[in-house]
Subunit: 342 residues, 2 copies
DNA sequence: CTGTTAGCGCCTTCAT
DNA sequence: ATGAAGGCGCTAACAG
């Protein structure tokens, strides 16, 4: 029972040609109802399953897409992938996942191997803005393989992207802190070679400026996305004179580290110090001292990315490159860490 | 620049046969150093990339594996997938992910479409123990496609699996509560059609028995893995007379819900009530009142699953079915929710 | 060491 | 309405 049945097996059994079987299976209208039905039945009886590999080779369409993320075991990226999978499965696409671990070389390898595997498209959240990966991405485009950025994009002509408005995210988070009567707002910023972090910083700056609060560059600290990094950054901030009375962190994990460190020093949150994070990780709302955070709606981002890909696939005019940039709206979830009791 | 170059293009340019090109590219020792080098160089120059699809069709090996999980956006499953990906990528396998959303029909569809796609193996955490999916899984085995269970397995002859010792997990969690001087320990159990939950319950029972604590079936509540379910179950428990003074929850989320509900009723944790969860979700250690939990080491589980698959692939004797059942050791992380101050 | 041939499973002209 | 033939890109068997 382990042999796979092909259309030839069916053809032989029915004394017809493989072409007819193929046509019948594909509901070709030129096939008589009777043979069509006969073929269908025998196929079912013989437990025939289409070999997608052969079909792919023939058609040049694999029905596989590649999704490249820094890592999969973070709620943010996992939710995006969930969105992509849910949107693409009904369209018969399979989702291949690759992790870069923030390593540029791995990223390039991933792209190349996906290309070799003849994926029909690539969706990627890049690790950084290097020259190298740009070259590789151009190769993808040259091959007319749709490539779509999500979240961490690169500004490249002709390449579509789905992101959130990070500028606005930074802005509303900062504005909220200002409205909460915070006077000296610090910012944990991420890797400035990435647009998203640049934009969050700029949103922060703009909010300060719009409210006549002078920008103090000592209040901006480059902080990785981890508890430890958050603690260290708080340490630095508290040595300043005057120290800040609020933090807008571009990472929820750093925000949590900050809160833990502040608490351990006896600083009262939110009364004496407010904190807002970014990402709306599940734990932010689980904490007793729940953490305010900017929601990036990753599930929606994933679905939207998939939809942009599907649209791209419909466009069969290979010479026409459509660039579509979807920018989702960030939402601030205000929780205890920034809600002063008046 | 958008046309893909094939070995024929290289062959033509070099006035040699495609077979020679193929051999050179594959480092066949029978090829002269000079032509080999020449081919390599021209290939590079012409930007040749192997078409894995063609290779797959020819060899009957796609170098793709399918991973089926209930959902991807939970830390547990995401970490497993991470482990699988990291272990398989160096071996040139691609990982296709599918979600079932706990729906049996979707699960069967996923298996079938993966089979059509000619994956070299399937790794799956099943949604439940039905007759239907068993039939489908048997079809996989009939086709000699390696299938490996992880976490949520089914007892089937000849099928390998990687799980943790859930019985032991339930046992050590309960024993710890007993040692913490808890007298009336309740248990939130999961879907009893799944082995893992049955085993946790049995571990709980055994620990009670070994310590001469009578089993009270009113203390066992069927609870889904969610905050809300945890709250509801606490509500039920507190109506009992006497109410319990501890909970071993088979889910971290339900444990968190329980804690929130207990707190809202003014019950002091851990002094008056202890809680232990299962899964070691990241948030359990982030909380101010950190939650004790049984670690299932999903990353390791994923890696191990991948290794079992690789081993299976080495065995080319198709008639010989090897069943390998790896059982990982659960570890209890004791945190504040069950650490009474003496 | 290299060329020829054939076939993996499918589909799509072209012909009948 | 159906059959014959060819090819997607690659490689293994066979032959020299």
């Amino acid at each position: 029972m382990s042999e796979k049945t092909t259309i030839y097996d069916i053809a032989k059994k029915l004394n017809i040609s493989a072409a007819t079987v193929s046509r019948a299976l594909n509901n070709n209208p030129k096939i008589s109802k009777s043979t069509c039905k006969l073929v269908m039945e025998t196929a079912a009886k013989m437990n025939y399953k289409q070999n997608l590999l052969a079909q792919a080779l023939r058609s040049g369409k694999s029905n596989n897409v590649g999704v490249i993320v820094p890592r999969i075991d973070s709620n943010f990226f996992a939710s995006i992938i969930r969105g992509i999978e849910e949107e693409l499965t009904p369209h018969k696409y399979h989702v291949i996942i690759c992790q870069t671990h923030e390593d540029e070389k791995t990223e390039i390898e991933n792209i190349n191997t996906l290309l070799n595997a003849q994926v029909d498209g690539i969706m990627i959240s890049i690790t950084n803005e290097s020259e190298e990966n740009e070259k590789t991405i151009k190769r993808v485009l040259d091959k007319n393989v749709p490539l779509i950025f999500f979240d961490r994009k690169k500004n490249m002509q002709g390449v579509s992207s789905v992101t959130i408005d990070d500028f606005k995210g930074g802005y509303i988070a900062t504005k909220h802190l200002i409205d909460s009567n915070c006077k000296r707002i610090a910012h944990f910023c991420g890797d400035q070679s990435l647009e998203i972090y640049k934009n969050r910083l700029n949103g922060y700056k703009q909010a300060l400026q719009d409210n006549n609060i002078p920008f103090n560059e000592n209040y901006v600290i480059r902080t990785k996305s981890s508890l430890e990094a958050g603690k260290l950054s708080v340490d630095k901030l508290l040595k300043l004179n005057p120290p800040p009375d609020a933090i807008f962190s571009s990472s929820d994990f750093a925000a949590l580290g900050a809160i833990q460190e502040l608490k351990s020093r006896g600083i009262k949150i939110p009364d004496d110090f407010c904190v807002v994070g970014f990402g709306d990780e599940p734990f932010t709302k689980f904490m007793e001292l729940s953490i305010s955070s900017v929601d990036q709606s990753p599930l929606e981002m994933g679905k939207m990315t998939a939809r942009v890909f599907l649209e791209q696939m419909k466009n069969d005019n290979k010479d026409l490159k459509i660039e579509k940039n979807v920018i989702l709206n960030p939402e601030l979830h205000i929780r205890k860490s920034s809600t002063k009791i008046l």
